[in-house]
Symmetry: C2
Subunit: 193 residues, 2 copies
């Protein structure tokens, strides 16, 4: 097995355990046991449990960022752009719920300076949502609201998806994306009644 | 100090630590240190760290349930009822962010049968939201959507409040309640454009 493949297998096994029992309650030995290897031989591939967490969190953060980059390429009014950002987010959140869940819940366990770096990336990501919402308010596409509260509201709701989504469940990722884009766009749009 | 007061002081100190560093990473010794007493003397008041968590989670769950009970007393159309449920939720979530945060994030660390009991209470609480949303769709007050997804969407967003809300921040609990009620009701209401 080539190194990158072995490394990825370690991260995948760690994602499952971090998601199920939390980062703090998971040991390197637990990860090794899930892969049916010795704890000592795991250290040939990774320096520490935190390095595994950092690697997962970095990978998922990059995936969310790239998806948002691609969503913005199409352009359009604020509501069209926000719907595209939400669909892109749902696609990443449902593609690998184990990893996505670790990204959402366990990044806080990173030590500095990695924690601050991830926080900055999360803030920059949320800022894209804030900017589109503020633009929508300025252009009259969206109702008046607090763009920061609205962006946090939407992203917090979206970040719940990896917790409840089951690939074998009744809703496809596309249906979840549609439902969330509708809820989100309506939440910012003046009601008819 | 009477027993209930001492017991409550222990739970308050534990809430702060559980929120800051997580339940798994907090020891009885950490809680004792925060109260400037010996770990051994803490055991005169509580049987275990989990008992402290259970006590906090049960207390906050009861508070959310009672607030929702009172919100329903007023009655009205589905949008009025849902707005009242949301205002009640925000009031509890902002009253004590330490406890509320532990309720939202740390309950999963309870062992069975307590975990299942809390999960059942959370489901019953979410079912109130689902029922009001389904009623609003049936009566034409709300747009067509999946009531379960919509209820989870709203409660997940609301459960983010204890994570970001700061009592010393620029928004009052009443302003946060207004913003969230508006976002939530609009998210379910047919848009004008």
């Amino acid at each position: 097995m080539v190194e990158t493949t072995r490394r990825r297998a370690i991260e995948d096994a760690a994602s499952v355990l971090f998601r199920r029992q939390g980062y703090a309650a998971t040991s390197i030995r637990d990860i090794a046991r899930a892969l049916d290897i010795q704890g000592a031989s795991l250290y040939a591939h990774v320096a520490s449990k935190e390095e595994v967490l950092r690697s997962i969190v970095d990978r998922v953060a990059t995936r969310f960022e790239r998806a948002a980059d691609e969503a913005r390429i199409d352009g359009g009014d604020a509501d069209v752009l926000l719907a595209a950002l939400i669909r892109a987010h749902v696609a990443v959140a449902t593609a690998d719920v184990g990893e996505a869940s670790v990204f959402v819940h366990e990044w806080r366990h990173l030590s500095e300076p990695h924690r601050a770096a991830v926080l900055a990336r999360r803030d920059a990501y949320e800022a894209r949502f804030r900017a589109v919402i503020a633009d929508g308010i300025a252009t009259g596409v969206f109702a008046m609201t607090d763009p920061a509260v609205a962006a946090t509201f939407l992203l917090t709701a979206l970040n719940g998806i990896p917790t409840w989504y089951r690939p074998e469940g009744p809703l496809s990722p596309a249906q979840i994306a549609d439902l969330h884009a509708d809820l989100a766009i309506r939440s910012l749009t003046e009601a008819s009644r």
